[in-house]
Amino acid sequence: MTIVNPAPAAPDRRKPSAPATGPEPVRPRRRNRDALHGLLMSAPALGGLIAFVAVPFVYAVVLSFYNVRLGSPLPPRFFGVEQYRRIFTDPDMSGPFLRALLNNLTFAVAVVPLQTGLALALAILLNRKLKAIGVFRSLFFLPVVFPMALVAVIWRLILARSGDGLLNSALHAVSLGHWGAFDWLGDSLTAMASVIVLSVWQGVGFQMVILLAGLQQIPGELYEAAELDRATRWQQFRHVTLPGIRSTLVFVALLTSVLSLRVFDQVYVLVHGGGLDEDATRTVMYQAVTTAFDQNNIGQAAAITVVFFLIVVALTLIQRRVVRPGNED
């Protein structure tokens, strides 16, 4: 597969010279030249996007209707909607996928309000004129620059099942010795909660920064006016702050929910070595990768991918619907 190159240089020279024969067609000539150069300038990026996003995306849909395996001597066999039937209704094969869907939903339902709310609280806390406030902002932002693979490893230690794990030792100390060892990652009840906590820790700074920028766009006079009206802090929050960052807040919630559908890295790392309960934490992407890579079932993995994408799009559309009427008032 070669990268799409811009068109060869030869027509580059011929085309603009054609209208140049006329006496003074400055405008049309400029436009003509613009057309060619606009296309040339866009070509590398467009080529890349077509080759690595558009084509594979269409290919995912096609593959999902086939029974395809890598390195199989048999040619791909048309399968109709069999892959979809299998992942949704086949009693033997739908289990892990439906579980992944449910897990992903749990993750999103917990993370979106938790992370958005926490980010808002932090943003409000950090939106004041104090010396060295920048240092505090940086500290809360810091985990955002950490790759998820590393975050997972750090939290693997914090949540370690032995009595020497950080959380277990802390609880042991606080409970005056009543707390023993608990396997946070391995227990099916707390496994997902653990993934949620570490994900929020890593990501909250990102949302915080966006909300902080939103808060700073609210004119200070509004707060002064509210204060003159003797509005309480809660009333100020309710009637000045919230309306002022409404669209930012919705944007952040949308961003977080799409991001929370894409969860993969931390689950993969913690399952491969961290003793994370696989069934309680497998996500849709995790399922797609295991199906493609470990089970070599490309067709089924493609079907999972397509379902994943449809959920992302549906979510985006719903959120846009929700945002629009509010933006007009």
Binding site: M1, L46, F52
Partner: protein, 278 residues
């Protein structure tokens, strides 16, 4: 609002405690990387700065010493190479396209731009499986880890938002002086667009540096393995040498922290700016 000294003190106290709790995992990472393994996973004493030494770092740099384990500087080199190619390539390719699509007039331009916006909706996760299938014979190469990520619809969109805000008169002046679209772009537009270049660069760098899903699918050979994937492999080996794993983690995050320290302002501005406008 006036603040009494007492209130100010309370503000600092609340922020200080919260920030301290928040960065505890990072402190733990850094402290642990200087401690012997049995002292890392050792309850709350893991936080005590005792038994400190550079042994773990020395071990990480020297214990990856065969083709079977890979070499530390090789992982680092691959990660740096991938980040350089994706960031620099992305800056050039996407900014050029954004300019061509938003500031030059040509037929079909609107439709093409709409296509880009549409492609922005497709997360990489949605094309990972078909890409894995399509490029399966390219597994364990360097190029397949970098090239698919150079063209980026979101970067292109960020550039186009910025370029749209540049007053056309500036470019007009350049064009009247005889500069073609390429010169206008590289000599006039690029120098005045530093903020967007900086924020796209940093965002791309961060994403690429932590990239994990694609390497999991495409890389098994230690010779072309980037750092995050090796981090996962390393922590999965039993028994885990925690001190060394954490030292590895610090070395993995160090380049990012350096970039972050220098360009933090651009980053925060870029992230926040694109969000508020969008």
């Amino acid at each position: 609002m006036t603040r009494t000294p007492l209130r100010r003190f309370a503000d600092y106290a609340v922020l200080g405690v919260l920030a301290f709790v928040f960065v505890l995992p990072v402190l733990y990472l850094i402290l642990g990387s200087f401690k012997p393994s049995d002292q890392v996973l050792n309850g709350l004493t893991g936080f005590l700065p005792t038994h400190l030494s550079f042994d773990n770092y020395r071990a990480v740099l020297s214990s990856f010493d065969s083709d079977a384990t890979g070499y530390f500087w090789r992982f680092m080199g691959i990660s740096l190479l991938l980040a350089t190619v994706v960031v620099l390539g992305g800056l050039i390719v996407n900014s050029m396209a954004a300019y061509g699509l938003t500031r030059l007039r040509w037929r079909g331009q609107g439709a093409v731009f709409a296509l880009v916006l549409l492609l922005m909706l497709v997360p990489f996760e949605a094309v990972a499986v078909p890409l894995f299938y399509l490029f399966n014979d390219q597994r364990n190469t360097v190029w397949i880890q970098a090239v698919p990520f150079i063209a980026n619809a979101f970067s292109l969109y960020q550039f186009s938002t910025f370029f749209r805000a540049i007053p056309p008169s500036i470019e007009e002046a350049a064009r009247i002086d005889g500069a073609g679209p390429w010169r206008t772009f590289f000599a006039i537009v690029v120098p005045m667009s530093k903020p967007v270049f900086a924020s796209v660069a940093i965002l791309t760098f961060l994403t690429q540096w932590g990239a994990f899903l694609w390497p999991v699918l495409m890389v098994s050979d230690p010779a072309v393995r980037p750092l995050p994937l090796e981090m996962s492999v390393f922590q999965g080996q039993m028994p885990v040498d925690w001190g060394q794993v954490l030292a590895f983690g610090v070395l993995l995050i160090l380049p990012v922290l350096i970039v972050f320290a220098f360009f933090q302002r651009w980053f925060v501005q870029g992230v926040a700016g694109s969000a508020v406008k969008g």
